[in-house]
Amino acid sequence: MESLLGEFSVGLAFWQAMLFLGLLLLLRKFAWKPILNSVNEREAKISESLELAEKTRAEMETMKAQNENLLKEARAERDAMIKDTKETVNTMIEDAKGKARVEADKVQSLARDAFTAEKVAAIAELKTQVASISIEIAEKVLRGELASQDKQTTLANKLVEDINMN
């Protein structure tokens, strides 16, 4: 203990205190404040940047999801549109087909009617012709039959007979 006190120098302590205090004040003003400030600033900047990056990534993620959604929607829309179109086309085709069929049927039936009418007309004509031909033939035959007297009498008899019988 005595050696400790013996070695203690007041002057050295005084100078030391002055110098250290001076160093403390000088370094505070000229060194530590700027150094710590810039270190803190940089750290803040780094963490800010990291945060920003994180935020951007999250944003990107949401945007990507949105895009995906949009794409999905678009695809669905497209699909729906295609489906719609197909349906429309189908119905149109069906419609057209139906109309065509109706038209065809109409045409057919008209044709058939016309044909029937023609047929009837033809038959009627045929009938008249056949009738006229048969009348001609009957005329000729009658002429031949009635060429002689007896034949006429027989016939008249016969006819009379027929009538009598009635």
Binding site: L4, G6, E7, F8, S9, V10, G11, L12, A13, F14, W15, Q16, A17, L19, F20, G22, L23, L24, L26, L27, R28, F30, A31, W32, K33, P34, I35, L36, S38, V39, E41, R42, K45
Partner: protein, 372 residues
């Protein structure tokens, strides 16, 4: 950064060699294998040599030779307060051989303890006798002026302060060009961040640590660089001086007391959460603790650095003490090894001083949520 690291490494590896070469030059002065000396005298001389190199001195001696009677170095101003101011250069003492007259007073330098004593004109030290009233014992003490000299330690501290100031100002300036560290900042910045993140924040707290950072950083670099200065072969021993560590410990002590919050005083004078008789008993214990803390801080740094210097000095003296070459070689190797350990200790003691300072600041700045 690499260049700086390499430089430090080279200096570290060379320092034992440099140290021993300087002492080799000083050989005739100190532990020389002088044939006329008995082993006891040799031992005495070696003790003197080691003591001399751990003491503060009034001149910046580099190499000296007792037999040659020459000294290499430069004188430093002596400033004495003895009823008046006395200022002269230490070269006037001629290494303790001459009595210096200044404004009618006479002073002489004692080369053994390195102190200046008041003498008469023939160089006889003036004494003052004091009588203890209780025991009637008479104690005779030498008269000493109050010594405000720019001693070797003060001079070294001045240089170191200048060096630290310019170093850190240049580091601070380098941040102006950009946020990334360049030059010396690359080396300094990790240490600054280490002190902030590993010492200040865990011990003081996220919020309160900011106002203590200036002191913690300054004290760390101050002690560390001065410790390293002690490793150079100039025989500087600033941090191994009780006055220096006393001042540093006082700074820590006063900053702790002046920044202390209510809780700190509460824990000293009225410890919460213990019964009343216990509270009264704890007051003196806490008060003793208050004083012991800076005292331990002071003693730890002082004793560690002084012990390091003594061990190194003793090992170097041993190189000259023994005549056998293998012993010299062995002690040289041991000196080398101890030098590297001391390099570690230099940083470690700065770290521990800063760490404990932060711990004390933490107790001062702590605000306790609940009583415990």
């Amino acid at each position: 950064m690499y260049r700086l690291l390499r430089f430090i490494l080279v200096v570290a590896l060379l320092s034992p060699v440099l140290t021993s070469s300087v002492f080799a030059n000083a050989e005739p002065h100190h532990g020389a294998p002088n044939k006329e000396l008995t082993p006891e005298e040799k031992r005495e001389k070696n003790t003197e040599f080691v003591k001399h190199h751990t003491h503060d001195s009034h001149s910046f001696g580099i190499v000296s030779s007792e037999e040659g009677g020459w000294h290499l170095g430069f004188p430093l101003p002596v400033i004495l307060w003895d009823g008046g101011l006395h200022v002269f250069m230490s070269s006037a003492f001629e290494h303790g051989e001459k009595v210096v007259e200044s404004n009618g007073n006479y002073y002489k330098l004692d080369t053994h303890d390195g102190k200046i004593y008041k003498t008469d004109e023939h160089g006889t030290v003036m004494t003052k006798s004091t009588v203890d009233e209780k025991t009637d014992e008479e104690t005779i003490s030498k008269l000493k002026p109050i010594d405000f000299s720019i001693t070797k330690n003060v001079f070294t501290t001045m240089l170191m302060c200048l060096f630290l100031f310019f170093l850190f100002r240049s580091v601070a300036k380098s941040y102006k060009s950009g946020l990334a560290p360049t030059g010396a900042a690359k080396f300094i910045e990790p240490i600054v961040i280490f002190i902030r993140d590993e010492i200040a924040i865990p011990n003081i707290g996220e919020k309160a640590h900011k106002k203590y950072m200036v002191y913690l950083l300054t004290v760390f670099f101050f002690i560390w660089f001065l410790n390293l200065m002690g490793m150079t072969p100039l025989g500087i021993n600033v941090t191994g001086n009780i006055a220096v560590t006393f001042v540093l410990a006082m700074f820590t002590f006063f900053i702790t007391q002046f920044t202390a919050k209510k809780d700190y005083w509460m824990h000293i004078f009225w410890m919460p959460g213990v019964p009343v008789p216990m509270k009264i008993m704890l007051i003196p214990i806490e008060l003793i603790g208050l004083v012991v803390k800076p005292f331990a801080l002071m003693i730890r740094l002082y004793a560690n650095m002084l012990a390091g210097h003594i061990v190194l000095g003793a090992l170097i003296a041993a190189v000259y003490f023994f005549d056998a070459y293998f012993a010299k070689a062995a002690f040289l190797g041991l000196t080398f090894f101890m030098n590297i350990i001391e390099l570690l200790v230099a940083a470690l003691q700065a770290y521990i001083f800063t760490m404990l300072t932060a711990l004390y600041f933490g107790s001062a700045a702590a605000v306790h949520e609940e009583a415990h």
